[in-house]
Symmetry: C2
Subunit: 391 residues, 2 copies
């Protein structure tokens, strides 16, 4: 699949002349989120006035409608949509919920307030007048509705003023403004800047960047090693971590820094299937959040380590070895078959080498050489030896 | 149990004249950690030179040796120790491991470097010369040894230069120095300061505090609500969160701010057994880390909400109710029996009221009133109404 993403929604109003099924222009993405919600609402009202069954077309968020686009080099959603009608016993509740969440988002956008996904559930939950029926019985009902809205409006959750949990931190050669406060990320001690969930341009603006690249590491404990050894200063970079699988805010910030500051993103993960997977999410996006790849994925990100070949390359001792278990082997095979890994010779060699090794290695295992080996020797050597990078 | 904590270790050297079993003076806590490790080593060497079986006495870290001290109002370790001998088939390996970890800690203290618990495992792991025996086979072997050392040396893990995972953040009316960088926590935008794992005075010094109190909330999503609404500014406070059960760094920072800056610590948790428990850990310490209560626990911390009585007190709708499950009911009963809750009438009423309600409530549920109800009305009213606080 290499088609452009198309998003359809209910139409019928004169304002939005597009027919259901028509492609929406990409340029709409820059528009105000509040206005998009109003347009959605007006299209529904118009259908009702025309005595037509009101509906919304929601792009399908399922594996069957997700594919890797070899041209953009990220995971995208396909064209298929599902119509949600008001006069349909099986769809009416979800139709109502969609309108309700949209309305709450609009309130928040207008008030310039944001809310957690848990919060929006509570904001929207109430008893329908004259009944004992709740608008939502559980958050599990609310979350997919929010995702529906994201895809239907082509708005990131963050643009709908909804935040996720945040984790991850940043330190390094960047000065930026966060809601009016100028923050010099070289002057944040050992703690660093706690990356928030919403890092859109209305919240964060970049001011001055002396960094030559971004080094993103998997774990906070590894990040701390690099911070303590002031790696960012010696190598003129920005250090980030996402506490494992990076949350949306971290991915979005990396994406923005990469694109707006033209900084290469170099990724340092454990040498295990989970490390490969996290890297692939940063690079190509994830299947679950395929509709957000365009604003999140960084197809030019590079994997600089830890590689299965590093055991020999760096003369490591067997103290670093952690035996692969059955699940690791299964996951490796799955990853090898992902279209974004498949056919890439260096990755095939890398993953097959891990299987041959029979062991995986953590970044922290490099301490078995000596405590600062990872910051003094390993990473500097990796930075120089671009041939060792995986794409 | 209301006895003072006593810690014993191997003796025999002239320098440390105390006999095994003798109480170590509290004042030793201020001493240099490196020197304590050297002393430990010297005592072992001395025993060996005297042709005595070298040993270390390690305070027992088990429920049987842990109790709530009604006078200090935190959970403490008792006096019981376990001797670890070198010439003992069952103990020799752990003896060796204890010395090895101590030696690695000493190296790091001297080099002024710190390391994660995973890192210290890798630093210490190697093959014993002439054998195929590893010093450590898994991290699970290493972690208790580190805890042994903490209690034996009466040094916090952080003083041994070992860091844990970090999570949690801070914003508010405090200016502090972190490794030479002056950080004004009123100028950190929406992200805030990512609280590191090691916040000892050699890393963090407080400079200027305009806060009247610390408000610690359970979740980052709740914290974000308070940050967005600039609660810290309106109410002159410091806002912290620990992403659930706060990690060591957050607890230690709260402890230091409370004691050094004389700031009350007010805790805002979900109205559920887990919220009560997190509060009790902040206040009295935990059974697992009883040996660190003195440096972590904040017996004067207050629980300002959410209380089981808030449903009526604030006229909440049934949208906030989450039905208690069997586990909640079981945990409530356990908590009610903890010596630090038992006998406190207001807590008994609080927990029994939850059982009578049959439901629990999250802080985020207050959004069902309106988005900023928690920051505009709920918390300000709680701050005024000190009688509603739980101690």
């Amino acid at each position: 699949m290499a088609k452009k993403k198309s998003v359809r929604k209910a139409t019928g109003s004169k304002k939005s002349a597009a027919k259901p099924g028509a492609r929406r222009k990409r340029s709409r993405r820059g528009e105000d989120t509040g206005a998009k919600i109003v347009e959605l609402a007006e299209s529904v009202v118009e259908l009702a006035r025309n005595e037509t069954d009101p509906f919304v077309d929601i792009p399908i968020r399922a594996l069957s409608n997700v594919d890797f686009n070899a041209k953009t080099r990220y995971i995208e959603m396909g064209d298929r949509t599902q119509r949600r009608n008001f006069f349909n016993y099986g769809q009416a509740k979800r139709f109502m919920q969609t309108m309700l969440i949209a309305s709450k988002c609009k309130d928040n956008v207008e008030a310039d307030k944001s809310v957690s996904i848990r919060g929006i559930y509570y904001l929207a939950k109430h008893t329908i007048k004259g009944t004992k029926e709740k608008t939502f019985d559980a958050q599990e009902e609310c979350d997919p509705i929010l995702e529906d809205l994201e895809v239907a409006l082509e708005s990131l959750r963050e643009e709908l003023h909804v935040y996720a949990s945040s984790r991850g931190a940043m330190i390094g050669e960047l000065t930026f403004v966060d809601t009016g406060d100028t923050i010099d990320a070289t002057r944040l001690g050992t703690g660093g800047y706690a990356i928030p969930s919403i890092v859109e341009p209305n919240v964060i603006q970049f001011k001055k960047c002396n960094a030559k690249f971004i080094l993103h590491v998997e774990k906070d404990t590894v990040w701390r090693r690099f911070v303590e050894d002031r790696f960012w200063e010696k190598h003129r970079c920005i250090l980030t971590h996402g506490n494992g699988q990076p949350p949306r805010g971290v991915r979005r910030l990396l994406h923005r820094m990469h694109n707006e500051l033209k900084l290469p993103v170099l990724v340092l993960m454990d040498n295990d299937p989970w490390g490969y997977y996290i890297y692939s999410v940063i690079k190509q996006g994830s299947i679950n959040l395929a509709f957000e790849s365009r604003r999140m994925a960084i197809p030019d990100a590079k994997y600089i380590g830890v590689s299965s070949f590093d055991y020999e390359r760096f003369g490591l001792s067997d103290d670093v070895k952690i035996e692969l278990d059955a699940n690791d082997i299964k996951r490796s095979k799955q990853i090898l078959n992902y279209p974004w890994f498949a056919g890439k010779k260096p990755w095939e060699k890398e993953i097959k080498k891990m299987a041959r090794n029979g062991f995986k290695m953590e970044v922290e295992a490099l301490a078995s050489k000596h405590l600062t080996f990872v910051t003094d020797q390993y990473t500097p050597q990796k930075l120089k030896d671009k041939k060792s990078w995986l794409d």
